[in-house]
Symmetry: C2
Subunit: 221 residues, 2 copies
């Protein structure tokens, strides 16, 4: 029995929800509000962060630790790649999205616009949002560049790199913050991701009082 404690519009939680579906696993989803420091979450993870996966006797904290745990515990469907070069390339790009892209884009847009709103801690700072909006253009160009040379971001099969990237972009796309028109290759890649069944549930999430753009859950956008 798997149970995932998550925030629906958190990129790191979405990464794990997509991984679970791609591996053919189902998990009970428990929605939490980490910014309120709830006791239940603190007991599971002293960092009071999501995602947290409870897998039988194991409690696993941090999205990459969870992804590694799922690779080891459920290896039938492999999301890293079989040979060493492929695994290194997958991991390089997962780190690119979860560290560099996160620091230069997601933190500046998602944290300013959504996390502050949830935590009721002030308003988005326009200079920070502006910086994030500029940075995302460079990163879309990089996705474009990768996709011109490969069938998927890390090579010829769909890997955790595509999942991590789609998790970040899906949250930013909900906010209308992805200038898809500037990077047609990146848009084609994301359309292919959106048509996977593993993405359907996350594209159904809606926030009260904040609608996504009309193209948000449309694979042909």
């Amino acid at each position: 029995m798997l149970r995932l404690h998550h925030v629906p519009l958190c990129p790191f939680c979405r990464k794990i929800r997509i991984v679970l579906r791609e591996k053919g696993l189902t998990a009970e989803l428990v929605e939490v509000q980490p910014w309120d420091k709830p006791d239940d979450l603190l007991r599971l993870n002293p960092a009071c962060e999501v995602p947290v996966l409870v897998d039988g006797a194991h409690t696993v904290c941090d999205s990459q630790a969870i992804a590694d745990h799922l690779e080891e515990a459920y290896p039938e469907i492999d999301l890293l790649g079989r040979d060493r070069a492929q695994r290194n390339e997958t991991r390089r790009l997962v780190a690119w999205f979860d560290s560099k892209f996160d620091r230069e884009v997601t933190e500046l847009l998602w944290r300013e616009k959504l996390v502050k709103r949830w935590a009721k801690r002030g308003f988005p700072r326009s200079e920070v949002v502006r910086e994030g909006s500029q940075n995302i253009r460079f990163h879309l160009t990089y996705i474009d560049y990768l996709y011109q040379q490969r069938k998927w971001l890390a090579g010829d099969s769909m890997t955790l790199a595509d999942i991590a990237a789609a998790a970040h972009l899906s949250v930013l796309d909900y906010l209308g913050d992805v200038p898809w028109e500037t990077a047609p290759g990146a848009r084609d890649w994301y359309a292919k991701m959106k048509s996977r069944p593993s993405l359907r549930p996350i594209l159904m999430d809606r926030l009260i009082g904040l609608k996504p753009p009309v193209h948000y859950d449309d694979p042909d956008f």
Copy 2:
């Protein structure tokens, strides 16, 4: 033949240097200045970040991708833990230090004081440094708490969690930014780490014009 492209006072590079030594591996060290965007580094890693490990035909970017590669390619000395619970706990704490601690402490002190100086991009902002100095106290208390219950941070053997933590703290300690007197257990743990041969080379690094405190390389501090 292993070659590590690194910055001597970067916590993520130090993590890999310690891992290499703990595994009994030697690597040629190539010092780079990522902030100058050198062509050699850009060719190896389009993110132009360190550390980058070249291992024969493999180029591996990102410290956690490198640590994972070294675990897989040189498994004789294991730094994650043999059973699943131990591996999850190690990975949880590695993520704690490389994400949470990094975001709340290292970025606010090391990036403000050192990276800005290296990149010649402005001066440390006092309010940011103050926030980092406050945050480190909470995190030292957590190390204290872990070490009261265990021989090492993630359990009864030394793991990548200890290495990641020591890598961050060694850089902050160089800057005189670790209030050891507030957390005697954390100090005892760090003294034990400092006495390991794997830490000796990194404690010998010196920056021109910036001396560390006298206790910096003394295991009995």
